[in-house]
Point group: none
Chain length 230, copies 4
């Protein structure tokens, strides 16, 4: 009752990692169901009961694997992350021309965003509601910006980009521009034709950096903001 010794498991709650095949199936079913329900009802209106129901398991089974809505959401994010993880553009494509690179990475980003629009909307929402996830997005955004900043810096050093721009701030700005436009179009439904969206964003990147058209044989260009960038 009152002042009992804490449980022997060190205060951790029950959630287990499934040991049997059946357990794996159930856990997966729950994560899949969670995605369904979250996308359908939004994070806030999603009831744990509904997730269990959608997974065709008893309500209590949810707690075999997760402690809370937040926790299963985390699991969902991790899973999606894995799916979306892939090597960087340059390594995959061998593209080195900055213009081509900007185009490729913006296209890739926008395509992925469009494809997972409901999920992205969900992430947007949760980042506004849950502190932990908000932090995650900040860090992710910073990582992207740092990487892009490096590329911008190298373009500046080789005389291909406007040397007056602060690389890190510029990287942030151009990244949020792209990701926010993706949100505007694919989540909020702003009607902008896809091709026009891509070309305009490309153009602003190029103009913004003042890319010298006659880029001779140069190296880098920024990688696109990742799917989870803010």
């Amino acid at each position: 009752m009152a002042a009992q010794a804490p449980a022997a498991d060190g205060g951790q709650k029950q959630p287990i990692t499934p040991r049997s095949a059946r357990g794996v199936r159930t856990r997966n079913a729950l994560v899949v169901a969670a995605r369904e329900v979250f996308e359908r009802d939004g994070y806030l209106d999603a009831r744990i009961t509904d997730i269990s129901k959608a997974a065709h398991v008893a309500s209590g089974s949810f707690y075999t694997y997760f402690n809370s809505k937040e926790e299963i959401f985390e699991a969902l994010v991790e899973q999606v992350q894995e799916e979306m993880l892939h090597p960087h553009l340059r390594e995959r494509t061998g593209i080195t021309d900055p213009r081509e690179m900007i185009d490729a990475s913006n296209r890739e980003y926008l395509r992925a965003y469009k494809k997972n629009a409901r999920l992205m909307a969900l992430f947007e929402q949760v980042a506004q509601i849950d502190e932990k996830f908000k932090q995650l997005r900040i860090e992710r955004g910073n990582a992207f910006a740092r990487r892009n900043a490096k590329l911008i810096r190298s373009l500046q050093e080789s005389g291909q980009a406007d040397p007056d721009l602060d690389p890190l701030v510029t990287a942030h700005a151009l990244s949020v521009m792209v990701s926010r436009m993706a949100y505007l179009v694919f989540v909020l439904g702003q009607r902008i034709p896809y091709e026009k969206l891509v070309t305009t964003l490309n153009k602003i990147w190029e103009n913004g950096l003042q890319l010298r058209p006659e880029a001779p044989r140069t190296p880098a260009a920024p990688d696109a903001p990742g799917v989870l960038d803010g």
Copy 2:
């Protein structure tokens, strides 16, 4: 007893517009308290009870003026809107040089955002949660974009801006870039020095539009995204 006589107000709830001076005071106290509580606890965790308590009125009194949290939030938005409403830059300042105009409007926007950062964070949050408010922001964003698009178009026509850019999409993109950076810095706490933020954003606008430096005698420049733009 059987057939209820329909209420005179057609089934609408009670919320009244205060008639007495006391009523006005109470209603105001509630709106002020709502802002306090919303900023402190976030929209979701703010309980109507807390708002009433903060306003030093009985919990039941809330319903004399509002039907729901959403409704008092609306009232809060309207009030803030009034406070922030002011004529457009050009009309106020007479500035016509595009560069100056970009600088002035970005500064004005960022200053206002910083000053009301907690409120802006709140708006961001509610737009993710409440459908009605989400629509409001879309419309507001569109209005801004249309206005800025007009200015971009006129710059293009006078040969001062890159004619390849789609004016409306560009207007959207540059606007969200600024507003999102404001969010990043003033709400999420990204550490970017104020002056560096302003100059970088200015630069990207200018570069992005390819403003001809020798802008001879031309007119327009985009108005900054308003305080409530997304």
Copy 3:
């Protein structure tokens, strides 16, 4: 949601002290109902729902005044305490003969215990279950023992009681003997005639202390263990 600022009330929960007459009535009804339900079902099986039901209020109303079963139990204890509180024997009766005093206080204690047997059983039970209440009983027992020890000491000093006895330990021992016998008889139902119980306990007190029969004009004698003693 996640890391929200704590409520403005300093972390205290809602429970209020009733401000209206109606509120006082409701709160009282709940405490009375709690006693009923606790005595009927035992502490563990008593559901908050049942208490509310017995008090003829909605289930949620319980939480207007209490946070938990433990809390309303505390309120019940306090109330009972007040009812049972009365001046010490000697002050009330003027008895000074040790034998008479022992008899009077044992009788009083046993009578009160018998009258409130179900409540006493309840206290016994909760002291085994709830740490806070267990502490309360320890302290109460100590207070009694200290008082009785003082009396024993003075009897020893005036040559009326066995000087070999440790006053404090003896006080504890004789007190727990009486209270535990009360429990045995009135709660567990051990069939011992009331009068035989009293006289036997009296006798053991007298013998135990080796009270000199010819106690001339002496002063003190121990006060009986109080109703709540362990």
Copy 4:
């Protein structure tokens, strides 16, 4: 399909007596684990799951041997009983002097109580919670009291003890005094030096019975209250 054939065991549940050596081991492990968990968490907070975990068996295996927490507790009690069972004092020691006997049996009781304090606390607790176990303790206490009463009676008959005392009630009273003091000191932590505790209790027994110091050649003295006395 319609009429269920009654199970061969008459509706009784499964719990088995282990047939294999492995079964014996598992069952033992569970009882040992139960003691651990009960002592650590208290009867109420002990979950069957925890007992299984502590025994390193799957949660479902519990039900191979027991139907409920109550049932394994019973098994635990029985096991402890066996361990503690030993012949009566007199038979073991040959002591016949009443004073020596009181001393010996009190010492023995208190030593055993101290050694198993957590277990005794547990028994105390369960007796307050579980009806079946409460009955057990009543019976046990009665058995002790009857035996001690017989001894008191014989002391009275041989002129060694106060003839005014009711033997049975006195036996109860002195027994509960000892056992309750043991609880006070070893479970509740009342700080009384061991030796002082023993000698004081001895003294009260002797004084209480008014043992004639010159005890000539007499036989009996009460056996101490057994470990499970109330």
